[in-house]
């Protein structure tokens, strides 16, 4: 009786499995750190052009997705990474985890927005950058002038009014720091950070958090991401999104094929599609600066000077190779003495 039941159960389970695998569409497992609101439109647009492929998202914050990909190195689960920081993809590339592939639209990609290899292991989608979220309501209460530059931000008037991400926890924090080091030069940049440190009320672990704190009036100024600023402002937060006039550190979202994917054809189709003008038009619904030449669009409340403000010669290779040393120096200077005073 029991045996028969077990057999029946096993048979029906097998039938279910068979039915599932007979399903025509190829299921593509895509790891991403895209904003949750972007997942549905991106998936819909791609699947409309590729009806034989279904995207299955695994979405989390940049750090968690990168850690998950690295931890799965022995037996990768992802087919494609679509929408992860290029700096993270460079780490995966160093570990030999990405497949080189030149997507159909590669010629249309701006040179700074792709891996330099002939068969690039990653190709950019759009840029995001360090920006200031400035709460006008709280600033008026405290009589704070609007900061226009990094130099302004370090002025004593902002003592204890600024929140920024800890570069040891957050990619955004790190790109701000690496931006300063490149703009100002190493020694002046560290001196700048020494002064700025006095103005920092809290170092957060997440890159978007400082802007959300500024949006909610917890602190008047948050050093964060321009996208989050535009998004919070659209939702009704009384904030201005400011790009510092000296220029600002930036990173990009990018696409890559994971080495060892069991669906290489479908993966390449996604890589091809991700570099099209059509895809870029979709990206610029959320970000102003796309990797594809000639596609620009300023979403609501987006800072107007985004492309101009981006640090011209952002040296990703330098930042990646000096990351450990920079973070060690940062932690030495600001961690041990960053207890509440």
């Amino acid at each position: 009786m029991t045996v028969r039941l077990v057999i029946a159960a096993a048979a029906s389970a097998a039938a279910v499995l068979a039915a599932a695998s007979a399903d025509a569409a190829t299921k593509l497992t895509v790891y991403t750190a895209l904003e949750p609101e972007q997942l549905a439109p991106y998936k819909k647009a791609f699947e409309a052009d590729n009806p034989d492929i279904t995207i299955q998202w695994v979405r989390d914050s940049t750090g968690v997705v990168t850690a998950k990909l690295l931890a799965e190195k022995a037996n990768p689960q992802a087919d494609v990474v679509w929408g992860l920081a290029a700096s993270s993809l460079m780490i995966l590339d160093q570990q030999g985890m990405l497949d080189g592939y030149a997507p159909a639209g590669l010629a249309g990609i701006k040179p700074q927005f792709r891996d330099a290899k002939d068969q690039p292991t990653w190709v950019g989608m759009d840029a995001w950058m360090a920006a200031l979220c400035f709460n006008t309501v709280e600033a008026a209460k405290k009589n704070l002038p609007k900061p226009e530059s990094w130099a302004d931000l370090a002025k004593p008037v902002y003592k204890g009014q600024v929140v920024m991400p800890n570069p040891a926890s957050s990619g955004t924090g790190f790109l701000a720091v690496s931006g300063w080091l490149q703009i100002m030069g190493e020694k002046p940049a560290w001196e700048y950070m020494d002064t700025l440190h006095d103005n920092i009320a809290v170092y957060t672990h997440s890159g978007s958090k400082p802007c959300k704190m500024a949006a909610a009036g917890e602190y008047p100024i948050g050093l964060s991401i321009e996208y989050t600023g535009a998004q919070q402002k659209t939702k009704g937060a009384p904030i201005d999104v400011i790009l510092a006039k000296e220029g600002t550190g930036w990173d990009m979202e990018a696409t890559a094929i994971v080495k060892g994917t069991k669906n290489p054809d479908a993966a390449r189709k996604l890589a091809d599609w991700a570099s099209t003008t059509k895809a870029a038009a979709l990206y610029t619904q959320y970000y102003a600066v796309a990797a594809v030449t000639g596609v620009t669009n300023y979403p609501a409340n987006y800072p107007a000077n985004a492309e101009a403000a981006m640090l011209k010669t952002n040296d990703f290779a330098w930042a990646a190779s000096h990351r450990d040393a920079i973070l060690a120096e940062w932690s030495k200077r600001y961690n041990a003495k960053s207890e509440p005073k």
């Binding site: 998936k43 926890s169 989050t228």
Partner: protein, 562 residues
Amino acid sequence: MTANALPLRMKRTGDALALDGALVLLGLFLAVFIVLPLAMVALYSVYDRNDAFVGLANYAAFLDTPSLAHSIGNSLTMALVSTAITTVLAFTYAFAITRTAMPGKGVFKALAQIPILAPSLLPGISLVYLFGNQGPLRVLLMGESIYGPIGIVLGEVFYTFPHALMILTVALSTADARLYEAAESLGAGPLRRFFTITLPGARYGLISAVFVVFTLVITDFGVPKVVGGQYNVLATDVYKQVVGQQNFGMGAVVGMVLLLPAVLAFAADWIGQRKQTALLSARSVPYVPPRRPWCDRVMFALCVVIAALLVGILGTAAFASLIRYWPYDLTPTLAHYAFAEVDETGWRSYGNSLILAGLTAVAGTLIVFAGAYLVERGPAHTGIKAAVRLLAIVPLAVPGMVLGLAYIFFFNHPGNPLNALYGTMGILVLATVVHFYTVSHLTAATALKQLDAEFESVSASLKVPVWRTFFRVTVPLCLPAILDIALYFFVNAMTTVSAVVFLYAPDTKTASVAVLNMDDAGEIAGAAAMAMMIVITSAAVRLLHTGLSHGLSQRTQTWRKR
């Protein structure tokens, strides 16, 4: 003489063999799902980022970090302060629920579960809304900031309270009335009775509660991440290494260091358990709290204050989910409950959470109670028992993030025969069972320790098979604790994030992960709304549990009354 004793001994040997076999199976389970994954973490701690063997270089680098002393000091301070506050509050509360005749005990017991019903993000959101720079209660902090040690302690006390309460309620709910009658007739006053009977009787539970809370605080990174500001603790150091810098070697080192409290806890558990004697012998008379108007009133007032704080924090999150834009637009709205629009998986993730929680409750309760029975009541060699007991304590000291990574390293390895588990609901269930193993095990063990060993020896001499005694006597006697454990697994599986976030696959994303993702995207109100859905679900299950416990205790617990 010999002729008489022989069959009895044989009978016991047969049972003993079966029990030993079961204990070995349990040991194997714990080895595969705790020891081996952790061994992978230990292995990672001696490799660098490029998979080159570096010996103890990571440990040396860790000891060399200038901020290390701060992190250790901060972690210990936070853990000690939170433990002191939580234990006192939880003991008072547990005492009021079990040993007084105050009204509304059922309601208080239910309200105390609030923190456990809510995802860890919820107190973070509430504390900031209440005590943040825009919060109405900010004045209470007298100029101090919520972002730092104060926020951590408040958050940790809220988070650990139900864990301590669960152990202490079980510890205090069983008492032999004969002791109190004897003490009273010998002229011992209430205070003396408290210090000579109540406190020693609950000693094992107290020690367990202290170490559970201490270890939970040391390893929790959820609260310090949200409200800790730049107050560095060891758990956030793991976060920085693993999530911030993808440096698994260094993360593994800190993870290994965090295991130390578990070893301490084991030592304390072992000492405590050596001295614990059975409270409930086969001849016991259950204790029924008498009416003591002054004591009942004071206890009632204390419970009201504690429960009000818990409700206040939950209420703040409910409020956050119902207004348009904190703090600038306080118009009420239900818009945030349409979270399916914000999060792609919407209701599917909620369904996944229900499946995960249901399976975890069933599997977890079976494994934990059978395991605790084997350790506490089985005839096995004390060495094996001690080993299994240590394994049962270890999961508490493993931060969820480390557990999640350990499971990836171990189960995703192509050479692992259990590789097929990876990416399924099964691995989420197993990871969750293991993650919440310790408190459940301690609860089961506490309940079992209070039963007199005579039950087994009488059964044995009556030639009743062990399994019959188990199902006819042990299980019914421990039924309240068993139901508590099932509930504990269910609600924790609904809210858990830290390990699951590394292990979910496209088809198995949970509601708790959706909460995290929404908060991540700046949808704080949406996150609060989804968190409230989790709270409501868990609360409904909690009510079901109350109904079940009540119904069952009519049938199986009447012996506790006179």
